[in-house]
């Protein structure tokens, strides 16, 4: 759901950049104050993994494909939505600047959707679902699905404001496609978290609910 430059007029794109910059500043403060030095390599490895998985488009029928976004995954593993903002922002910068994947003016909107909304929805719905189900796998899958679906709806609303998509049909189409793409997000996120919890439970944040 990388929005290209031409999809949003520059004035509106600037508003999303401002919102994104506020959250980037908060994410930088989180790295400085809350995250331990030992977590830097994990953050970097997750960025590399998210970059690779975002290139792996999988068909979801109806002539459409999708890939992992990764906001929920990063937020759950590091135990903070700001980890997702930090990693997704930097991944989006590399993708946009080097590969033209997502625009530069619209990078703010992409950071808001995938990093901020994806990270916060992923982290807090995981916490909520863990409280309800006590199942790490089910909670990770549910949180990841929401962290794909809700940012897609946000993008549809932004693009309706921009005049690119008609409001209703845009929401329906973005919603249907990303309800399916969310299954990819759910599957990969749950599997990766399960693998980390099995192989290296010590690197998973304690808020993920796995005894280290």
């Amino acid at each position: 759901m990388h929005i290209p430059d031409s999809f949003i007029p520059i004035g509106q794109a600037a508003v999303y950049w401002l919102i994104a910059l506020v959250f980037i500043a908060l994410a930088l403060r989180w790295v400085r104050r809350e995250m331990s030095d030992e977590k830097v390599p994990l953050l970097a490895v997750l960025a590399a993994g998210v970059f690779a998985l975002q290139a792996f488009n999988i068909p979801v029928t109806m002539g459409t494909s999708g890939h992992l976004v990764g906001g929920a995954l990063v937020a759950i593993v590091l135990g903070s939505p700001f980890a997702a903002v930090f990693v997704l922002s930097l991944v989006l910068i590399v993708q946009g600047v080097l590969f033209g994947d997502g625009g530069l003016t619209t990078m703010g909107a992409n950071i808001v959707n995938m990093g901020v909304i994806g990270g916060f929805v992923g982290y807090y719905s995981y916490q909520g679902l863990m409280g309800l189900t006590k199942s790490m796998l089910a909670s990770a899958a549910g949180a990841a699905w929401l962290a794909c679906f809700i940012p897609a709806l946000a993008a549809a609303v932004e693009l309706a404001f921009a005049g690119t998509f008609p409001f209703g049909p845009g929401l329906v189409s973005m919603g249907i496609y990303h309800a399916l793409i969310g299954v990819i997000e759910a599957g990969i996120t749950a599997v990766v978290i399960k693998l980390i919890a099995t192989a290296r439970p010590d690197i998973l944040d304690s808020s993920a609910g796995v005894p280290a």
């Binding site: 999809f7 970097a44 459409t64 930097l90 033209g100 690119t164």
Partner: protein, 115 residues
Amino acid sequence: MKVNYQLIAVGAALALVVGVAAVFLASSDPDGLDSTALITQGQKELTAPANPDAEIDEAILPGSFAYSAPFPDYTLEGAGKLTDVALMAGGILVALAVVLGLGFGIKAFSRAGAP
């Protein structure tokens, strides 16, 4: 500070395997956003298969800013798969290095600034 080089090496290797596999296996169907754009421009129907010739008409969209990335769509014009693999690997390693550099940079900066 002890740096976990093993984690970096194993993580980077896994990401490279996934990224290289993506060069050969990833679907070329439009993603959910592009499919929606094609529908609104009358070039696709919601449940219909992708039309490989369909292209989003950027001229009728509200934004006019244009930027030419050095490697658009993770490739170079006329390049073979080997180039694509190298670009993908490069992108993965740049993402890794940027986060590693900025992360350690912030940590070193905050230690230096601490009373």
